[in-house]
């Protein structure tokens, strides 16, 4: 069983929704990332999403674009991101790590080299934002052979016919993009979200993670009632923007936000439990 499958089995068994914080590797500086990942785990993160910085993050909003620019200004490269995962793994062999990014740096490294280097570093899942299943046969095969789960996005605009196609290619979990727009956008309607997730569950047994538009603990709690996992990205990255020259304060604030979300998510599930059972 992969680390991702194992972790979802655990959260499901304990009746929790998984918390998946996203941080851009190397933001605000490369030496902050590994300690930050450990802080987030201590604050209640179940899985970690580590963003690989890219010069042209087309599907991301301004918050993550700026995070990429800060990271790239320090010269963070894909191989540095893999080194961060390797370092994280030295003291945490349990928490799954998913790399999220864009295809071009991976292609430049070479998909085969990347798949084996990522596996060796301890990466558990890879989500390439600009790589839909139609174009991904090569990389998906290489990742699976290396023991890494290819993660795919499903959007509100994904037609039912495509849904089963995406679900067939996906492993680990499905990342449901909760709203039309880029990362860091506003507003999310939990009721509509629940209905949509229900439709997706009819097609796949994979856990459903929900991201985009989860700005605070209250939203995280609402989403935790209907989703298997809550992904929070821009809300954390925005804190890096807030404390550009004070990495300790950034780490503390990020951990505090993760803790608030953890608490709200667990409370939401506890409230919902009688109805669900």
């Amino acid at each position: 069983m992969s680390r991702i499958a194992k972790r979802f089995a655990e959260t499901r068994a304990s009746g929790r929704a998984a918390l998946i914080p996203y941080v851009t590797a190397g933001d605000p500086a490369p030496d902050v990332t590994v300690p930050l990942l450990h802080d987030l785990v201590a604050a209640g993160a179940d899985l970690l999403e580590l963003g690989v910085p890219f010069s042209d993050p087309m599907a991301d909003g301004p918050v993550i674009q700026l995070a990429c620019e800060r990271s790239l200004a320090h010269g963070t490269r894909l191989r540095d991101v893999l080194a961060m995962v390797r370092e994280f793994r030295q003291t945490d062999s349990e928490t799954p790590v998913v790399l999220m990014g864009y295809l071009n740096p991976v292609e430049r490294m070479g998909a085969e080299v990347f798949a084996s280097a990522a596996a060796e570093a301890g990466v558990d899942g890879v989500l390439m934002v600009d790589l839909p299943p139609e174009e991904s046969d090569d990389l998906t095969g290489l990742l699976e052979r290396a023991g890494i789960d290819p993660i795919f996005l499903v959007a509100p605009t994904t037609a039912d016919a495509r849904l089963s196609h995406v679900a067939a290619a996906a492993r680990g979990f499905i990342y449901y993009v909760s709203l039309k727009g880029v990362t860091g956008a506003q507003s999310l309607d939990p009721a509509a979200l629940g209905a949509r997730l229900g439709a997706i569950r009819a097609i796949t047994e994979l856990p459903l993670g929900v991201g985009f538009g989860i700005r605070d603990a209250a939203t995280a709690g609402a989403v935790a009632r209907v989703a298997d996992a809550v992904v929070v990205g821009s809300a954390i990255v925005r804190l890096a923007e807030q404390y550009p020259d004070a990495p300790e304060r950034f780490r503390a604030a990020a951990a505090e936000l993760a803790r608030e979300m953890r608490t709200a998510m667990d409370a939401a599930r506890a409230d919902a439990a009688p109805a669900a059972v």
Partner: protein
């Protein structure tokens, strides 16, 4: 003239998923896949619909002013002492460039899809102006994304767009040029995909854009082929066009692909010279990668990050290129060269003084190559330059380089 590395059935490309050999495709976030499927369906339907094609044809005649003339530049031909130089006068189109051929077509599709809002990216501003123009005519809301640096370089076009009622959004991220404007337009589209039609201005982006923009621009080559045959009784020996994203070049080249005797030369922006690293010539000095929804030649560093480009002309200042050009390069069907800022500027002046035609700085790159190529050809041979746009928008840039404030 050209030696193909393999026999190709040109009509079969791109394939159903938008691939030109290894290039093209659809590399976008999931949210856009539905919209692209919808666009592809509507585009395939209407390109076979006689009523749509008749409406397009009427607009091109009455609003754009097509057909554009093919002009024999006799004085320049004589001075160069080699091939006869013909100019396909896309500068005479309404709005002053070839860009409107495509925006007219896409706007008609937008209307049929019931979209009320148009967005576009622009570099030099020509595509922005052409988009704002068709939006004004059809009464559609229009937002144009433009890099903050390009807004400075092309203030006249910015004002034209605003006069036409468009909202010009200054893009301050990344290198603040065309590629960043494209990123921002994609973000807008992802957010407003229900009511918004994204008019991409070049033959790049996710499928079906490279094929669709090519088809709308191919009117250039269809006309030029017939006009040259009528004027000279034969096909030209060579076609020359500047390549940024590559829409004017594909528009000219595509109807000639099966004419094996016709050489095709795309001219990229060499900036301060390929060796300087400050240029916009991915086909000459880049390598294949994935950006803006398609696989194509790119300018990137060895970590796969897109690198800053440079060109005197905002319209060529782009790190990628249309995927069909990448494929034509690999097949050997077209060749790609680069021309520096300085040579383009010299060609700008030479064309202006010799033929009384002020070309766009983008177009001046193609002219500069012909100044070198034509004398090496015989006077009984001929070539066509796609005179893709007029230079009025560049007067400030040129004047400033000569120390004159207008």
């Amino acid at each position: 003239m050209s030696e193909l590395k393999q026999a190709v059935d040109w009509a079969a490309f791109p394939d159903a998923r938008g691939h030109f050999g290894p290039y093209g495709g659809r590399f976008v976030a999931e949210t856009l896949m539905g919209a692209l499927d919808e666009l592809q369906a509507v585009y395939e339907k209407y390109m076979k619909d006689p009523e749509f094609l008749a409406e397009l044809d009427t607009d091109l005649k009455q609003f754009v002013g097509r057909p554009s003339p093919l002009y024999h530049a006799e004085r320049m031909s004589r001075e160069l002492g080699g091939a006869q130089v013909y100019l396909k006068r896309e500068d005479l189109n309404h709005t002053g460039a070839h860009k409107v051929n495509n925006t007219i077509g896409q706007a008609l599709l937008a209307k049929r899809l019931g979209k009320t809002r148009i967005i576009a990216e622009t570099g030099a501003g020509q595509h922005g102006v052409a988009s704002a123009t068709v939006a004004a005519r059809l009464g559609l809301e229009c937002v144009v994304y433009m890099g903050a640096e390009d807004i400075q370089r092309q203030s006249q076009n910015v004002y034209r767009m605003r006069l036409l009622g468009a909202d010009v959004v200054s893009v301050k991220s990344g290198s603040r040029t065309l590629k960043d404007a494209l990123n921002e337009a994609m973000r807008d589209w992802v957010t407003n995909v229900d009511d918004t039609f994204y008019i991409i201005g070049t033959v790049a982006g996710p499928h079906p854009y490279p094929a669709m923009v090519r088809d709308f621009q191919s009117v250039i080559g269809r006309e030029a082929r017939a006009q040259h045959l009528e004027m000279t009784g034969k096909l030209p020996d060579a076609l020359v066009a500047c390549v940024g994203g590559g829409s004017n070049a594909i528009g000219l080249f595509h109807p000639f692909l099966a004419d094996e005797s016709v050489a095709m030369i795309g001219v990229e922006a060499g900036g301060e010279g390929i060796a300087s690293g400050r240029h916009s010539a991915p086909l000459c000095a880049g390598r294949p990668g994935v950006l803006h929804g398609n696989r194509t030649y790119l300018m990137e560093d060895d970590d796969g990050q897109i690198i800053a480009t440079h060109s005197i002309s905002a319209g060529l200042d782009y790190p990628g290129v249309g995927p069909e050009h990448s494929w034509l390069k690999d097949l050997g069907r077209a060749t790609y060269v680069s021309v520096t800022d300085d040579d383009a500027l010299r060609a700008f002046h030479r064309m202006t003084r010799t033929e009384g035609i002020i070309p766009a700085l983008e177009t001046s790159h193609a002219i500069a190559h012909v100044l070198d190529l034509a004398p090496r050809m015989r006077p009984d041979q001929s070539l066509i330059i796609n005179l893709s746009g007029r230079g009025d928008k560049d007067l400030n840039t040129v004047a400033r380089l000569e120390g004159i404030e207008l």
